[in-house]
């Protein structure tokens, strides 16, 4: 089958502003959008620029706006999209070139929630024990691959770019609800800030966008509840 692929292009060395370009691509229904992008780059326009690495949804390099929703290009198939496909960079992060956005601000927010285990007690000789039930408490939020699909799908983030955003809260959740961690209060303090959890309006765009199927809104609500319980 043939697909009409429209891509929002921008080359800072040539273009004053982004513009749409159209490509006709031969595709199979089971092809993913990444296959189409690679095909355009190989056969039609070698200047087309996008990030990619693992090509099977685990490295998080190729999140982009595909037919109006944030998706990993390597995980969304042609048969799920139809013959007309539009691709644009993630919304709300500076575009460096074509589909490549500047991730520095996003990663700074991730770092701001202290995304690492802090245990006050010295480690025992063997593993710290944790029951399967306690382990299950934060299982969902360990799946995050930092692709930025959730944060850049969030209207609250678009309206207020200083909002820490769903991805950072997901990663805070992963530690706040880990029984081995002792720094939950400090993280809750950070997230009680005006740019923390309260900016979430439970719009659920993040849940729709997450390629890992994380129930992000639920995670944010759990963190919000913890913030209330500790500060009220």
């Amino acid at each position: 089958m043939q697909v009409d692929l429209r891509i929002l292009r921008f080359d800072p060395e040539r273009d004053a502003a982004p513009h749409w370009e159209s490509y006709r691509v031969d595709a199979e229904p089971m092809d993913r959008v990444l296959n189409l992008l690679i095909s355009v780059k190989a056969d039609q326009d070698g200047t087309l620029t996008f990030r990619r690495s693992c090509a099977h949804g685990i490295c998080g390099s190729d999140a982009m706006l595909i037919n109006g929703r944030n998706r990993l290009a390597c995980k969304i198939r042609v048969d799920q999209l139809g013959r007309k496909i539009t691709v644009a960079p993630l919304t709300g992060l500076p575009v460096m070139k074509d589909l490549v956005v500047d991730m520095d601000g996003f990663l700074a927010k991730y770092r701001s929630v202290m995304p690492f285990l802090i245990a006050d007690t010295p480690p025992p000789e063997r593993e710290r024990r944790q029951s399967p039930a306690d382990r299950a408490r934060y299982d969902d939020t360990t799946k995050c691959i930092l692709c930025a699909a959730c944060t850049t799908a969030c209207p609250s983030f678009w309206a207020q770019p200083s909002y820490v955003g769903p991805a950072a809260i997901v990663n805070a959740h992963r530690f706040i609800f880990d029984t081995r961690d002792d720094a939950g209060d400090e993280r809750l303090e950070i997230l009680a800030d005006k740019d923390g959890v309260w900016r979430c309006r439970t719009i659920f765009n993040c849940v729709d966008a997450c390629p890992r199927g994380i129930n992000i809104t639920r995670a944010i609500l759990e963190v919000s509840r913890a913030v209330v319980e500790r500060t009220v």
């Binding site: 070698g46 949804g57 490295c59 460096m96 710290r128 360990t142 995050c144």
Partner: protein, 582 residues
Amino acid sequence: MRIDHDALVVGAGGAGLWAALELARAGISTGVLTKLYPTRSHTGAAQGGVCAALGNQEEDHWEWHMFDTVKGGDYLVDQDAAEVLAHEAIETVIELEHMGLPFNRTPDGKIDQRRFGGHTRNFGEAPVKRACFAADRTGHMILQTLYQNCIKAGVHFYDEYHVVDLLFEGGEGGDGGRAAGVVAYRIADGELHTFGAKAVLLATGGNGRMFSITSNAHSLTGDGMALAYRHGIPLEDMEFYQFHPTGIYGIGILLSEAARGEGGTLLNSEGERFMARYAPKAMELAPRDMVSRAIYLEIRDGRGIGPKKDYVYLDVRHLGRAVIEEKLPDITEFARVYLGVEPLTEPVPIQPTAHYAMGGIPTDLRTRVVRDEMNTPVEGLFAAGEAACVSVHGANRLGTNSLVDLLVFGRRAGREMTAYCRAATLPAIAPAVEEPVRAELEALRTRPDGESPSALKDDLATLMMDNVGVFRTAPMMAAAVAGVAQIKERYTRVRVRDTGRVFNTDLLEARELGYLIDCAEAMATSAISRTESRGAHSRDDFPERDDVNFLAHTLAYRGEAGPSLRYKPVTITRFEPKPRVY
């Protein structure tokens, strides 16, 4: 621009991150250079687990793990290295847990463990539960945990810096020179930066992209191996390349051995569990080289499935929904997304996929790069993980041992480099030392006409898949040697289409193709010269292992007229070579 650190780590997968963590905790000024973002590294794709003889589920001993590693590697493993691997795996996994890794747990709260191919109790008696795991995203959790701890320790990251050359002081790396730093291309703006350092770690991963069906990320183009090779350092045991049995048909994405560890079976077109004829005791949990060969033979003998009769089935239906969804969620999703197959109710089409380089940059137990058969170290240069060959995998790597390798030896590299940096002085770097690589990149970027690098890359990948794959013969490998030489010649005329400076991935992909060609050259020449079958190197014309002539590691040195080969002995300590039966 010129930037100095005491230590540089090239590559931010498991090995690089753990080394950087050790260095930063010791107060050594360290820069990590990665052409991706650290969490994009391919360590994150590892699914099934990391083996360590914790004995949490049943009796286990590191000596058993060591034996399995040696036997799995068809006795080409250096046994002193296998001892380090199996012994230090235990403290390494415990330390990872202390760092926060969310392992699955036993009912009493310990790290849960499961079976994996080739891992046995009591020197081969029966499968043992040795693989520690976090669902089927163990590698993802390792990568995240190490990155998180690097942030905590204040490691300095240079994200999206593509290392394009290695620097030496006092001669080439292969000729007595000492590591002095690297040249890196900043992808954001195309600027070259010269990094000076006392110690440099190559932790750049594998080179699976030289094959057309591969589980490897697009980024796995053998950069570190090729750069070392270009500076006179040999590549060791390049002919040993692992084809994983269960790649998704037609695409190569991996379905973890965990599926078989949990009880998944392999079926041919007659619905037969054919592994009974190849490994009656271990069945589907035989080592990967044997399972991949069995699949190849079933297909060759007409028992493949599908219109082209070129795949077999992986069947997990009998495991039930609970096991599949709790312990194999990612694998299940891969089958659904990439094949449109529902593993709860349908068997999954699979074929062997190019997966892992057992060979690489030769190192000693201290992770120091060595340059000859006497193990003479290259001062200041270190390597760990898939890019390195220490050699713990010999002729065939066991499942999970890639993660064990990169953790144990990444950790060792960090400690070794710390000690080295404390004693060493900063080497001198001549001005304009980046000019040769700048000229190479500019020539590539501005060549007015020539052929497309992506078409040439496809030719290389098809050539290697067809001729240096699961089964090999002399005519096939001769075709590969000649074909790679032709591709190398054509490569001098490739033309990139993007002539810009900002985020020029067209240029970098062309550069990476050059690395793949170097690795393919070393692989094809090493393979045709080994006239025996051992582990993953399996020849129709020499079907037997030949310990008299080939109980030895290959060292391939780069030369104008093609690689020249030397051999070094295998270190044997506890286990005399025996026939390998499962």
